[in-house]
């Protein structure tokens, strides 16, 4: 399946394709689409032969008959002495506000709990960086809490030890003036931890605290330092910008682990009315790896990551931003780059204060500084700068390098590693494991038994986010309290507790430390303020810092740029990227994330060395060929995946895979890119040698899934340029001819009451996967594993389809989320022999699991392939603990049962019952939000009553660009799409 040599494609007109195999129309692809349920798909795979299974079944039938005679005794165990919370109702959900931070990006969260166990994470609507939305990673954190592989024991030298042993070791520490004391933490965004740090550095004047993140915001600060002479955070005002130029900044996905950027950017991307058409922004992207930002860009220019600096310089020069800079034009008028540059310059100038240029965290300080200069020259009103609220002077690779040097030289006697995995994530040339072995006492606080816990002298289990007290402040200073919903299940501790314990010898609970810190900040009724901060999820009293006015010191910048300039790139470049699933490896043991397909490559359960089609052809490589990447004395092996639109002579690889010491989910999944990541080539490095090893690995993708033969050349995902749409608003409708077809069955009438429907706006949808994970969390969808995905058995109720169009070197991308369409004339219903799927009077295509006998006729007859069959008892083999994450409002499905999107019927019914309790029949518009809609940062999904002409969904469906997929079949889908509007620059399309 799908492992073939690329043939030169033959493309005429705008043709959509999902993968290179489809574009080349190979036999393998055709075989694959013809076999909807791939060969042997019904074989049992769990080691039992059919015969054994039949025997067991016979026996269990017999037992079932006997067991039915005696009803099993079940107990009801009420509380003994009532509960603390007066408004607690057994079985009803309860919500708590908390906050999380990844590498300095802070997002407020709202956690739903059922009888004390957290079951779902959503964004906190009151938090300025969330407004109710959450990313895929943030939502999957809840599964991480029930991870049975989490660290539960104190380890000494990698072997099980006890808390008293650790306590006596802590008591024995002699820290003196702190000359041998070092702390190594991730990005500190907690005000309490920061205040502890200040106190410690005062108490132990010679101690040092180093911050290191494998993926950090250091270049942003360093860039501002270069441009303005002081480290500053950059705050792009996405919603104010009309023209956005992204220089290797995947702000819609990987480079922004917060929904905030998409939230703000999509404000200028949503089209609710005619006027919005003129307000729509235009996005240019310059990048190497095909990112989601590139996919959503109106124009994209591919180039190696190291060439972006030259592009930024040329852009600054063309705008006349700095005297002495000249455009290095390496091509004639036909040159794509020159043409792109000229168009960008013209567009930026025209936009003036509404222009915004951004540089990614991968790009060096010089590019970030150049971008600051460009924005200043343009007079952009779309960017502000603030001083860090929390000191960042000892952060980044240089700080880590110094620390590793001190450790190797034996100058460090006590090292406290706070929640990180530096043995895995530190650059290879620092030889961190060797350096760590020279430290007399190293104490590692970590959530799992990982590479670092095995190498450190002590390992302490860390409490999960949902078990710990803490706080986080956004880069503007808006603080939130992190509150737990549950006692630490494995007795884990928090960084705040460990820091306090190690430096004072006394153990204080982090609740007390955090509370006393904040009570000191509050004025007036302090207890009341504390309770309000906990309830709201934002501390009202926390000061957000005002943006400061700064100007670029061009002379100093010119000198700095001169020093930073590098020779033009040569050889193969390797770029290191965050993983959409594991981030930097810390979420490697999370099944929901491992199984959420990468938004572009659709790769699951692993990473791959992404290369361009040209490089693949030159090197005679195909998907799954294992290559070696060598540079000096660093080397790694990884499977290759051909990525259309990737820069030539460059390889992109996600960090966070190839974990050797990890739980059962993440162990040995993918390949470890940290092996070739060095301090001199931290984000991208030149001069790699690429060689085929002759070995192969099968990569699992969900890419070609669901493509039925009948869908060829049908306009499923539709798009149109704004200008064309203005000229002919009917252009979307005209893409397919919808004959008037009448069902042979009597049709339902849906003119009464609530009639549920959904509209998905492909213009604002970025394809970020937040909805996919939201659906998994809400609807208890199982994780099936790589092997099952390869057999086409993934169970996600929303499939994020990604179509390429155009040239394989510079394809355009359209993302389309596909839930169940809830067809009015549903083809699945009339083929079900047992009426397990039937229609509700509100237009839902109901699915009764307890009735389903598993004929799979419905899935065969579904034109959208949104029905998923439980080929195995996926939930049965899950550790018991994982079962606690299930949403009790949704049945957990067993083997042999079909399932699909229900429009979150549990939420609909719950709201209807609530309305009845309140004595009303009407449901307000927006009162019911499906899980996917609730979390969508782009507000692309709108659900509601289409029978109410004033509802948002009804209004959206009135737009001319609204279309139903495969409407020509006469199935009348309730879910419709709003065609993607692109905003191309006429100068580049001509």
């Amino acid at each position: 399946m799908s492992l073939i040599t690329i043939q030169t494609p033959n493309v005429t007109g705008k043709k959509y394709w999902r993968s290179l195999n489809q574009l080349a129309d190979t036999k393998e692809f055709r075989d694959w689409v013809h076999h909807e349920f791939p060969a042997n798909a019904t074989e049992m795979l769990d080691g039992n032969s059919r015969r054994t299974v039949l025997k067991l079944m016979a026996a269990s039938f017999g037992l079932a008959g006997l067991a039915a005679c005696n009803r099993p005794v079940e107990h009801i165990l009420p509380n003994s002495a009532g509960t603390e919370a007066d408004n607690y109702l057994p079985g009803e959900p309860f919500h708590f506000a908390t906050v999380m931070s990844i590498g300095g990006h802070v997002t407020g969260l709202l956690v739903e709990t059922h009888d004390g166990r957290p079951t779902k994470i959503e964004g906190n609507p009151d938090h300025p960086h969330s407004l109710g939305a959450a990313t895929a990673i943030q939502q999957a954190l809840v599964l991480g809490m029930y991870d049975p592989d989490r660290s539960a024991k104190v380890l000494q030298g990698g072997k099980e030890s006890t808390w008293p042993a650790l306590e006596s070791a802590v008591q024995k520490l002699s820290l003196g003036d702190g000359s041998g004391l070092r702390f190594l933490s991730g990005f500190v965004s907690s005000p309490t931890l920061d205040s502890q740090r200040t106190a410690i550095l005062k108490k132990f004047p010679k101690a040092k605290w180093v911050e290191y993140e494998a993926l950090s915001r250091d270049n942003e600060l360093a860039g501002a330092n270069m441009a303005f002479g002081q480290p500053l955070y950059v705050h792009p005002k996405w919603d104010k910008a009309k023209v956005v130029v992204s220089l290797d900044h995947d702000f819609l996905n990987l480079d922004a682990p917060t929904p905030f950027f998409t939230l703000a950017f999509s404000k200028r991307r949503r089209v609710g009315s005619e006027e919005d058409l003129d307000k729509m922004n235009r996005l240019y992207a310059v990048e190497s790896q095909f990112s989601l930002t590139g996919a959503n860009a109106d124009h994209r220019l591919r180039m190696k990551g190291s060439d972006v600096q030259q592009f930024a310089t040329d852009l600054a020069a063309a705008l006349g931003a700095m005297p002495g800079l000249n455009v290095v034009n390496n091509g004639g008028a036909a040159d794509k780059r020159a043409k792109f540059l000229a168009a960008v310059v013209k567009d930026l100038k025209a936009a003036g204060p509404e222009a915004l240029v951004v540089a990614g965290p991968r790009q060096p300080a010089s590019v970030n500084a150049l971008v600051a200069l460009i924005n200043e020259k343009l007079g952009s009103a779309c960017v502000t700068y603030t001083k860090p609220v929390i000191d960042k002077s000892n952060s980044g690779i240089d700080a880590l390098k110094t620390l590793a040097g001190e450790m190797s030289a034996g100058q460090v006697s006590t090292l406290v590693i706070l929640s990180g995995n530096p043995v895995y994530s530190a650059p290879a040339d620092l030889q961190f494991p060797v350096a760590l072995s020279k430290v007399a006492t190293s104490i590692h606080l970590g959530a799992e038994e990982d590479e670092t816990s095995a190498a450190a002298t002590w390992h302490i289990p860390e409490a999960h986010l949902l078990e710990s007290w803490g706080d986080e402040a956004s880069s503007e200073g808006a603080a939130s309290i992190q509150q737990p919903m549950i006692e630490p299940m494995y007795g884990g501790k928090t960084p705040i507790e460990i820091v306090n314990w190690v430096t004072t010898g006394k153990f204080t609970k982090s609740h007390d430390i955090v509370k006393s810190y904040w009570l000191a900040q509050f004025t007036g009724d302090k207890e009341q303020a504390w309770r309000k901060a906990l309830h709201d999820g934002v501390v009202a009293a926390s000061k957000t810092v005002d943006p400061i006015k700064v100007t670029v010191d061009t002379k100093k910048l010119a000198t700095a740029l001169g020093a930073a300039s590098k020779a033009a790139s040569t050889g193969i470049e390797v770029g290191f990227y965050p993983s959409s699933a594991t981030w930097d490896g810390r979420y490697a043991n999370n099944g929901w994330l491992q199984e959420a397909p990468d938004p572009i490559s659709k790769l699951v359960w692993g990473n791959a060395a992404m290369i361009s089609p040209k490089l693949a052809r030159d090197q005679k490589l195909t998907d799954g060929d294992i290559i070696s990447l060598t540079r000096g004395n660093v080397k790694m092996e990884a499977a290759v995946m051909v990525q259309p639109g990737h820069a030539d002579d460059a390889v992109s690889i996600s960090l966070g895979y190839g974990r050797e010491k990890c739980g059962r989910v993440g162990k040995d999944v993918g390949s470890n890119a940290n092996l070739i990541r060095t301090t001199d080539g931290f984000y991208f490095a030149q001069g790699f040698t690429l060689a085929a090893t002759g070995k192969r690995e099968i990569l699992a993708t969900t890419q070609e899934r669901g493509t039925g033969d009948q869908q060829h050349d049908r306009p499923l995902a539709r798009e149109v340029a704004i200008d064309e749409y203005k000229k002919n608003p009917k252009s979307i409708e005209e893409m397919s001819e919808v004959p008037e077809i009448h069902s042979i069955y009597s049709e339902f009438t849906y003119d009464k009451g609530n009639q549920w429907g959904m509209a998905i706006d492909l213009t604002s949808c970025t394809g970020c996967n937040a909805c996919v994970v939201a659906c998994v969390a809400e609807n208890n969808t199982p994780v099936v594993g790589k092997d099952q995905v390869l057999r086409g058995r993934e169970m996600h109720w929303i499939r994020m389809d990604r179509y390429y169009s155009g040239d394989e070197n510079d394809p355009e991308v359209i993302e389309q989320p596909i839930p169940c369409m809830q067809c009015e004339n549903a083809p699945c219903e009339n083929v079900c022999p047992v009426q397990a799927t039937s229609h509700s009077p509100e237009g839902l295509n109901d699915m009764a699991y307890n009735r389903c006998v598993g004929t799979r006729y419905c899935a065969n007859n579904c034109p959208f392939k949104v029905r998923h069959f439980n080929f195995l008892n996926f939930h049965k083999h899950e550790p018991e603990l994982v079962g606690l994450v299930y949403n009790p409002d949704v049945s957990v499905r067993m083997r042999g049962v079909m399932e699909k999107c229900t429009y979150c019927v549990q939420r609909i019914e719950e709201t209807k019952i609530k309305a009845k309790r309140d004595g009303r029949r009407e449901i307000k518009d927006g009162e019911i939000k499906t899980a996917c809609q609730q979390t969508c940062p782009a507000e692309a999904i709108v659900f509601g009553n289409i029978n109410d002409p004033n509802s948002r969904v009804a209004k959206l469906k009135k737009q001319e660009r609204n279309y139903a997929m495969l409407a020509e079949l006469g199935i009348k889908p309730r879910t419709t799409y709003l065609a993607k509007l692109r905003n191309p620059n006429p100068e580049l399309t001509a």
Partner: protein, 215 residues
């Protein structure tokens, strides 16, 4: 060759066949009957850890159902009360009764009293007490005259047929909302008439589609 079996053995064979056939029919019928919810579930009366009498508390003393099952109006579950609810009275009344020992134990130790569940629906059924109470369906419709039971048993089959019967025709089981916990309510006229008026007034339209109960 001599005939081993006499001619009459044919009859034996026929009789044996008939007996086996009838036996099979009876077995299937018996299995179906005895595993039918009306038979297997109705009358279920397990022994409770404390011989709590609903007849005494709800019947003779006249405690409202809501005093103990306090979540019924607000939540899906009708919660069994916390031990502290029992102790509201039993710190004063019968405070030394040996039968109340498990309750006092629970109150002292914090461990719950292990009451045995009687009314149980399958996991794939999502019944909501608050929805039914706000519609005006009395406890008695599903649970029977609890106020007359010394030890509670399951009165009704609680099977899908029973649910659907009422969902298709709710009028006989609907009464004014303030009377839902009044188990001994005697209507002054035909209850169906009263119910039909309330159904019309509240626009009650109970679901009969799958997702109304199965999610």
């Amino acid at each position: 060759m001599a005939v081993i079996f006499p001619k009459s053995s044919d009859i034996i064979l026929k009789v044996a066949g008939a007996v086996a056939g009838i036996g099979a029919v009876i077995a299937v019928a018996a299995f179906t009957y005895y595993t039918y919810p009306t038979v297997i579930d109705t009358g279920y009366q397990p022994v409770q850890p404390v011989p709590y009498s609903h007849k005494l508390h709800a019947g003779q003393l006249g405690l409202d159902c809501y005093y103990c099952h306090s979540t019924v109006y607000k939540a899906a579950f009708a919660a069994v009360p916390a031990t502290s609810t029992c102790m509201n009275c039993h710190t004063q009344v019968k405070k030394d009764s040996p039968r109340l020992e498990p309750v006092r134990q629970s109150y002292a130790t914090g461990k719950p009293v292990p009451w045995v569940q009687i009314h149980r629906l399958p996991d794939y059924v999502y019944f909501n007490h608050s929805a039914h109470l706000s519609a005006g369906v009395s406890c008695v419709s599903c649970h029977g005259r609890i106020d007359q039971m010394i030890e509670v048993h399951q009165e009704k089959p609680l099977n899908m047929a029973m649910c659907l019967e009422c969902h298709r025709d709710p009028a006989p089981n609907v009464r004014p909302a303030n009377l839902v916990t009044k188990l001994d309510w005697v209507p002054d006229r035909d209850p169906r008439e009263i119910g039909a008026e309330i159904v019309a007034q509240k626009h009650l339209d109970p679901p009969t589609n799958c997702s109304g109960c199965h999610r």
